[in-house]
């Protein structure tokens, strides 16, 4: 899914063309959020979210993963294996370092088995990997949303030449073969920033460049969505009223427009998080993401492609974990959208 240009998950924000088309067509995608904003307070949305059983389950699962990620040092401490401590008695070096025992060496001391090749503990690597994934995804989503909102607001509000220029930039961003550029850019950034004596790579810089790159290619979707919203808000009576009363652009942006944009911003943020998790994992899968020995779900799946025929457990564990995280966050994102957009629930 990361290869799809419109992978933010909502159907609305993917339209590159709405600007060229009369508002009639853009309406199908944007009316929903537009109508609710201004009428329903956040509280009502929250209550609605709480009533939705799927969202509650998703929220619980997502929170469990977040908790596991935050508590990764504690959890792996309880289990008794670090993420890069080999259990040399758990693997058979004569047979290619495959784990000894059924189901990838799952046992009381290795809850989710042993990593073939190295003898590392899978559970420990999983929770540490989750920590990395969630951190990268959240920060990147924050960054891209922020940038997207700023550009989208400016483009929609100022219109004219500013809009034309920003819109052109957005078009270019969306036309880029993104994954390819991410693959090409990652080594550029990491090599530029992160080497010190004896090849030590600063983990912070490494993750930082991944975050920046993911955000760099994601903001245009949010910007486009926000721009569309602003364009329609601009024609509304309360905005007109404020303008007639002589409000300055700061007031217009921050007091009139922004408060009415929370719903689409929140939705696009909520759906950006799971997408970013998938993108980050995809980068590691393609070998340009998180550097080992730092554990990562994507690089575990990459390694699993070598072993899946003989040790399917090692494919299933990170795969299912990744699936569950992304699924629960997507479900939660949908829940948030539905809560902010009661129209979807009627009929």
């Amino acid at each position: 899914m990361t290869q799809q240009p419109h992978s933010t998950g909502t159907t609305g924000d993917s339209t590159v063309l709405e600007a060229e088309v009369t508002t009639a067509t853009a309406d199908t995608e944007t009316t929903a959020a537009k109508e609710i904003v201004g009428r329903s307070p956040a509280r009502m949305a929250f209550l609605r979210l709480r009533r939705d059983r799927a969202s509650v389950v998703a929220l619980t699962v997502a929170l469990l993963f977040v908790l596991a990620a935050v508590l990764s040092p504690v959890l792996s401490g309880i289990e008794g294996w670090g993420p890069a401590t080999p259990d040399l008695h758990g693997i058979d070096p004569d047979k290619g370092n495959f784990p000894i025992g059924a189901f990838g060496g799952i046992s009381g001391s290795h809850w989710l088995g042993i990593e073939p090749g190295t003898g590392y503990d899978v559970f420990s690597r999983l929770v540490y990997g989750l920590r990395t994934s969630l951190m990268v995804a959240l920060i990147a989503a924050l960054l891209s949303t922020l940038l997207g909102v700023v550009v989208g607001l400016a483009s929609g509000y100022f219109g004219g030449k500013v809009d034309a220029a920003l819109n052109w930039v957005m078009n270019i961003m969306l036309a880029f073969p993104q994954l390819l550029f991410i693959i090409a850019l990652t080594p550029v950034l990491t090599s530029a920033f992160s080497t010190n004596a004896h090849g030590g790579t600063s983990e912070t810089l490494q993750l930082g460049s991944i975050i920046v790159i993911i955000a760099l290619f994601a903001w245009a979707y949010t910007a486009r969505l926000v721009r569309g919203q602003v364009l329609s808000l601009r024609e509304r009576e309360f905005v007109d009223a404020a303008r007639i009363m002589g409000a300055g652009w700061k007031h217009m942006l921050f007091k009139q427009l922004l408060p009415n944009l929370w719903a689409p911003i929140l939705i696009s943020f909520a759906l950006a998080v799971p997408t970013n998790i998938a993108t980050e994992a995809a980068l590691s899968y393609l070998g340009v993401g998180v550097v080992p020995p730092n554990p990562d779900l994507g690089s575990m799946l990459d390694a699993a492609t070598q072993y899946y025929l003989y040790d399917p457990t090692y494919m299933v564990v990170p795969g299912v974990a990744l699936l569950l995280v992304v699924l629960s966050l997507n479900l939660l994102g949908d829940g948030v959208r539905d809560a902010l957009d009661p129209r979807a629930n009627r009929a």
């Binding site: 040399l88 070096p93 290619g96 004896h198 080992p292």
Partner: protein, 562 residues
């Protein structure tokens, strides 16, 4: 020899049967190459390759695959002969395009070869000594990159020479007549006639040289010629009608066609070969069975009769940069600390090869087989290593480790890192893309502390192993191969002495002793595993021999069973 396509280096090795040359004999089953089958003519040999050859242009190829397919199309001055009736026997040096293995004079600084009469190009014209001269001259052309550089390293007065199209004639190769070629070297090279078995010393007809695109239009003086070549997709070779068995001591021309199909995933190729149905029955592979497939395949009794475990004249090792890890004791501690068991496990397990105890691989004359300066326990000796670290007063060291960015090598790197963590050395792994790996580590400004590498001799002699890897005078800033950057004057003197020694047996003995000596006194590299390449053939392929020089299945006598 450099294996550009490292996949193969990652893979193979001799079954637990072990022990050099016997390994391939031992694991070799009945049908694969046995002479009991009737040799039949006709049919198409299929060759599955995950990617295209580096080059098949004789002056540009430097991978064993490129060289192996190349010698079915063109012939170099000398060659390694293997008889179909003894498919696992040691290859023997014979004249190929030349009538014999050459005549040295002037203290092995001048070498004279005579071209075999009656050898013809695919258009029927005779192959001349000028064609060979032109071919060797091509290897100097900077546009024709790739390929070994022995010609430019050894031929006299070559400074500034840029190949026949840019600089014209190279004076140090003389062709007094159409069948005689004389090489004037700048130094004595007593095994130059083994160098001439490399593809660089093949003829190229000037009229048919197409420069950088010669790869797809290589002109044939061997049993097969190019019918079509679509890069990265397919190479089809068909019989060269001008070739005659009478003037070729090395090869047969049994199959009608050789069809190289490129681009399938190696794992998928492995499964195709294992299933052995349809086209795959007529197929061979030349990138060895790799990584995780290795143990399950090598232990599968149904594959035994189609399995080739070819002992390669090569060592898989970890070089220690002596300019950054200056303390000998620390280097010796590393020698003791590495757990070769998990390292080999990461490479694929016991089928990957024997644990290395000295640098020279089995099969190298003069090798001291019983010597083991750092013990024979493959898990190492952590207590001794810790003691040495203490003596050196070293603690909390940090080192960089360069490996190729492949799943297998990353596991190897993990094993090395975990081993060294036990003696207080923190290792930072540097993954480097496979395609640029050797160029990257060959750049001395990168200053890696530990460097994984493997080395397959260009021809089976210690003189192509120890000097290229440990002679400090050969250190160059770019394209360096002395990864340890060792400067050991005594060892250099010993190398010069062995190289100049006219008696082969004495020379070999000196090389063997020097090998052990350097390990003890310099500890500039940790020999990890001796390599074996495991190949699988289709059930209908016959006549394959195990070539231990290229570590490939030799196609010289191949045929398809009816």
């Amino acid at each position: 020899m450099m294996r550009n396509k490292r996949a193969m280096a990652l893979t193979a090795i001799a079954i637990s049967v072990a022990m050099g040359a016997t390994a391939c004999g031992g694991s070799k089953g009945g049908s694969a190459g046995s002479s009991s089958d009737q040799v039949t003519k006709g049919g198409t040999l299929v060759y599955y390759a995950p990617s295209d050859f580096d080059h098949i242009d004789p002056q540009r190829t430097y991978t064993t695959q490129g060289q192996n397919i190349g010698r079915e199309i063109y012939r170099s001055l000398t060659g390694w002969s293997q008889s179909a009736s003894d498919p696992t026997g040691a290859p023997k040096l014979v004249g190929d395009l030349a009538t014999d293995t050459g005549t040295p004079s002037n203290g092995a600084k001048t070498w004279t070869f005579h071209i075999r009469p009656g050898v013809k190009w695919q258009d029927g014209t005779t192959v001349t000594s000028q064609d060979v001269k032109y071919g060797v001259e091509r290897s100097f052309d900077p546009d024709l990159s790739g390929g070994p550089q022995y010609a430019s390293q050894w031929l006299a007065n070559d400074k500034g020479y840029k190949g026949p199209t840019k600089s014209g004639d190279l004076a140090s190769i003389q062709t007094p007549d159409a069948s005689t070629i004389v090489f004037q070297l700048s130094q004595p090279v007593s095994d130059f006639n083994e160098t001439t078995a490399m593809e660089t010393f093949s003829a190229v007809p000037k009229a048919h040289d197409t420069g950088v695109t010669y790869d797809t239009s290589v002109y044939s003086d061997g049993p097969y010629e190019i019918k079509s070549y679509t890069k990265n997709k397919e190479l089809i070779l068909v019989r060269n009608p001008q070739w005659t068995k009478a003037v070729d001591p090395l090869r047969d021309q049994n199959v009608d066609e050789i069809d190289v199909k490129m681009g399938q995933d190696q794992a998928a190729i492995d499964q195709l070969m294992k299933a052995d149905v349809g086209e795959a029955q007529n197929a061979i592979i030349e990138d060895p069975i790799a990584g995780t497939d290795l143990t399950p395949f090598s232990q599968d009794p149904t594959l035994k009769s189609r399995w080739h475990a070819i002992a390669a004249p090569g060592t898989n090792y970890l070089a220690i940069n002596t300019t950054t890890v200056k303390s000998l004791q620390v280097r010796q501690a590393i020698e003791y600390a590495i757990n070769k068991q998990t390292v080999r496990g990461a490479f694929g397990g016991s089928a990957y090869g024997q644990y290395a105890t000295v640098f020279l691989p089995p099969g190298t004359d003069g090798r001291q087989a019983s010597a083991a300066p750092y013990g024979t326990n493959p898990t190492g000796d952590v207590a001794k290593a810790k003691a040495l670290m203490q003596q050196a007063g070293a603690s909390n060291l940090t080192m960089s480790l360069a490996v190729e960015a492949t799943p297998t090598q990353e596991k190897v790197a993990d094993a090395i890192r975990d081993s060294l963590a036990q003696i207080g050395i923190t290792v930072n792994i540097q993954k480097i893309d496979r395609g640029s790996y050797f160029n990257n580590i060959g750049n001395t400004s990168n200053k890696y502390d530990l460097i994984w590498a493997d080395w397959i001799a260009d021809w089976p002699n210690a003189s192509t192993i120890l000097p290229p890897l440990f002679d400090g005078r050969q250190i160059i800033p770019q394209g360096n191969q002395v990864f340890s950057q060792l400067q050991d004057k005594a060892a250099e003197a010993a190398m010069d002495k062995a190289a100049a020694e006219p008696d082969a047996a004495t020379a070999n003995q000196e090389w063997g002793a020097l090998d052990v000596q350097m390990l003890q006194n310099d500890a500039a590299a940790v020999p990890l595993v001796y390599m074996t390449f495991n190949e699988l053939q289709g059930s209908k392929v016959g006549g394959l021999t195990d070539d231990t020089v290229l570590a490939e299945m030799n196609l010289a006598h191949v045929y398809i069973k009816k």
